[in-house]
Symmetry: D2
Subunit: 330 residues, 4 copies
């Protein structure tokens, strides 16, 4: 039985805790959170204990740690867990600072432990299948990639201060998908953004509407489009176009109802939130993490991939600030 220690008892922590527990190879042993009450609540729900980080990492029965705490704690916990020789699952991003991410990366490499980063979309039945199909050659030579991500509602402006902004907290998922599906690291990035939805986001120095173009050495082109608000729900689509055709992932809905009347033909909106949309992806990434701990698999998304997504997000920020296309040297 794999024993897991989880850092973070927030919304995403609840998802991971449930997936660990429902997996019959693993058991949630410890929960750690700065908010003791939240930690206890989650621990009670799944029969885990609330301990200190030192106790947790010192326990030789612990095989893996899940890092679902706030971003600014990720690198520190990665280094501590690596030093303790534990396998790591860490939510994205590694850090908001590339140098700090590099330090964590080196700690992991020195420890020789498996690390899986939580870019959950690669595990989604639809979005993930597009990536697999492209890499398998289903569309021939990839020529154009288009990614659309729109959240149903913007986060509170206060969230921006800690998140690093749209490119780092939201589009970073798309950067990871783009890098994976393109099969090469982009050589140039151009970003434009606007503050059209919530003035408080603009006041916090960020944008809520963005478009990015990336080019690769092979000549493949990539577009990303993000919005912090979509009245119709959570919009998550990818379209990969190549010499032999196109493959696209469309949105998911919770039911397949159509109403036909004098107003037209109406079907259901996409699922509203990432919690609902990515249920299966969250389940599969945890399954994969347990496989990695058991040595049955090597992490699908490692520290290097996390570093590349971070570097792309930071370059997008720079492009937006300078108004120029940024040549990438990642």
């Amino acid at each position: 039985m794999i024993n897991i220690c989880q850092f973070g008892a927030g919304r995403i922590g609840h998802i991971h805790a449930a997936n660990v527990t429902s997996n019959n190879r693993a058991k949630l042993k410890y929960i750690i959170d700065v908010n003791q009450e939240s930690a206890q609540l989650l621990a009670d729900k799944y029969g885990a204990s609330v301990v200190s980080i030192e106790q947790a990492l010192a326990d030789s029965e612990i095989n893996g740690v899940i890092i679902a705490s706030s971003t600014n704690t990720h690198a520190d916990i990665i280094e501590a867990a690596a030093a303790a020789g534990k396998a790591i699952f860490c939510e994205k991003p590694i850090d908001l600072n590339l140098k700090r991410a590099d330090e964590a990366l080196r700690a992991v490499e020195n420890a020789g432990i498996p690390v899986l980063l939580g870019f959950n979309r690669r595990f989604d039945p639809s979005l993930g299948s597009v990536g697999e199909a492209v890499l398998r050659g289903d569309v021939g030579q990839l020529e154009m990639l288009s990614i659309i991500s729109r959240d149903p509602v913007p986060p509170p402006a206060g969230y921006i201060a800690h998140s690093g902004g749209l490119f780092l907290d939201m589009m970073i998922h798309d950067f990871d998908m783009a890098h994976w599906i393109l099969g090469e690291i982009p050589v140039e990035i151009f970003a434009r953004g606007s503050n059209l939805i919530d003035p408080a986001i603009g006041a916090a120095g960020d944008i809520d509407t963005a478009m990015v173009t990336m080019t690769t050495k092979s000549g493949a082109l990539c577009q990303i489009s993000n919005s912090r608000r979509a009245t119709y729900g959570y919009d998550q689509r990818i379209e990969a176009f190549g010499s032999d055709g196109m493959i696209m992932a469309k949105n998911h809905t919770s039911s397949q109802i159509e109403t036909w009347n004098a107003k037209g033909i109406t079907r259901k909106k996409p699922m509203y939130s990432f919690l609902e949309r990515y249920v299966e992806a969250f389940r599969k990434e945890m399954e994969h993490f347990i496989d990695c701990i058991e040595g049955k698999a090597t992490p699908f998304i490692g520290m290097h991939e996390g570093r590349i997504a971070l570097a792309l997000a930071l370059a997008a920020k720079e492009s937006l600030k300078t108004g120029k296309a940024i040549t990438l040297k990642i």
Copy 2:
């Protein structure tokens, strides 16, 4: 140049006249209609003349006649045109009476002229493709056929008196499609109907909502569903299911717009009327008629096919009246 004489200057007559004229192999020479004014209007529009039936059929330059007049005139005109040795395009049905249809059939056989019946749906890009695919074996052995036809609005109840009612004026199209696609003449028919839409239709002795089941010797089963009213437009669908899969024809819309908002995802309703929906089918059936006149093709839908559709419609009426399944001997 093929010269055409057309009987009937009503709504469907206007469609055929336009299609003859826009075909550069044919010319509309004469228009005949009991309503002289309508005849003259249509004739003027396309540079034709209004003449008597005798003059028209005596003109050796006339190669073909189009019968788009009221149903009760069809058999008489067929016989007269056959006697004059003209190729015939006749709107469905041949007649409301099977014996009278048989007489017309014999007249045509004796004359040895080509006759094409106006079951236009066989020429539709979608519905016709289903028939072709099934007969080509695309679904393997056909096992179940389902046909849905719904008109946007009911006809005036007065129309029922002359039309023969729903089975003869509306479902007769579906009977022809069913017979064609099944590839065999049904051996049994069971019909049920209700008067749910317009009480005046019930008062006229007819129904406006109907379902029919037919069985064939091979064991294939067929369902037909008709309504005289659909708030969302003209509903014309076919679904053919067999040992290797299914093929279906969905509705056509005039544009491919989708609106996504808080209410859902809404697309356009189907086209509203048969005039709009079957533009291409009407054009192609006229093209085919001209091919038949020129000896390049033999009629896709001849008198025998028309007789079978009529016999099925009459048997459906009998089933509805008697409450019993009717064994067919066609």
Copy 3:
């Protein structure tokens, strides 16, 4: 905490056991199955015990029983559980014999216990929503109902002997949906069927392809179409048409991928099996059963509903055998 005793450790038993366990209001206490080994396996998986039926029903801690054993045991267990005052969840059908079903019904009524029958489709997000929408009046006055159910592959012919055949083991689901959505008990039924898929099914005296027409007092008409095999997967659709429009439930797929190339535009097949397709429905029906035990709800599908579905299935059999439409007096 609700304690559950489950009869039956087969495929459907595994689903119910998992859903009881993952529900945090209930606990699976006992498993009973004629196959002791299967019973023990399932009991071990969820921390339950294997006991005798007498022990189980005598345990005052048991609040409810789940009957997922073979059909011929249903009525007996219902009566025993009713006598013991336990709430009952029973898989469909109650019995293959209407008199026996009536006896069980009376036992339940005398005991005054809640009974929920396992017509899971009413709980499906798509199919169930159609029913709710129709009953809410979303399509106006219901005029036509069409239900399509096709299994991916036929059962072994040996299964037919015990199942009662297609009308009783498969179409009974559609009869329940029809009765529920129509909002009235049909007054007439007409059934036709063929043996087109597996000759062994025919040799066992059954059909594998069927169409049924039902009429109601209000004049609404209903079509059902069933096949024991569909190359493209599990086909489960409903279309309800009324005075104000139509609502339809389409198939579910596990991902929303589309491939565009020279061959056309291809999307995923429907989910392959009922286990995959009705995951959510099975979960929700168990949730509802627990609500019923706790007195928070009254059973959505009771013994009377089960009796009506059974009566319709038996009448369909009679119609097929006699060749006549059957007038129903249910």
Copy 4:
């Protein structure tokens, strides 16, 4: 009756000639083409005469001229027709050179004649409806616009020499749509392109795969994606996203057939060519031109709109060449 003189007897000339003729308010009187044989062929087909440009423009019966000749003749003919006081329909682009386009624009303004430019997509039932919906406010405040245009096959490389390349012969349509739907002239443009399909196109100094980003003063962002080749046919889509939702135009197909089998669910590819796809748009733009001649309408797309699309295309070329985002002063 409106009399029309048409310059150009090529592929697009045939479409316009047919649409003029089938319109019962207009008549094609003259055809002019450097290729006398082509001119005569087209003239014969529609009962027109082949004359010199001087004769045509001197004929006071001529109300309008259609310019469907090669791009390098457009400005000259516009000026000559303007001097003769004729209404003008001119295919896009006005010219490849902005100064020359401005001269033609001034000639038109001085003459005070109506000029309609052939940006046919604005008249398309789907693409045009998106524009109308956005301008009507259906999506609230427009925030993001995405346009996809892909041709089924690349043109011969020789075509590039005269066409001005992808931005001027192909994406110019998208620039016009973008400018129209955005409701404002972009303030910045960034273009990237690759030569991935036909090396001969690269050798001719052009690209065959391109992505463009434009920004506007209001903060709305726009993406355009073009490819010279799509295995699945002619791909023409628009997606407009705003504060209240999204509206999209999807591809058109010639039939609505779906095949369901073990391989998946397959529907028809989009129509293959612009000739087939834009039949209705070509018909409507000619109808509109005739309305303009009759004074019933003012041109939907005038010289200023043509000038803006041209300026955007030239700026895209400059961005591609310099690698920089170009600030627009149009």
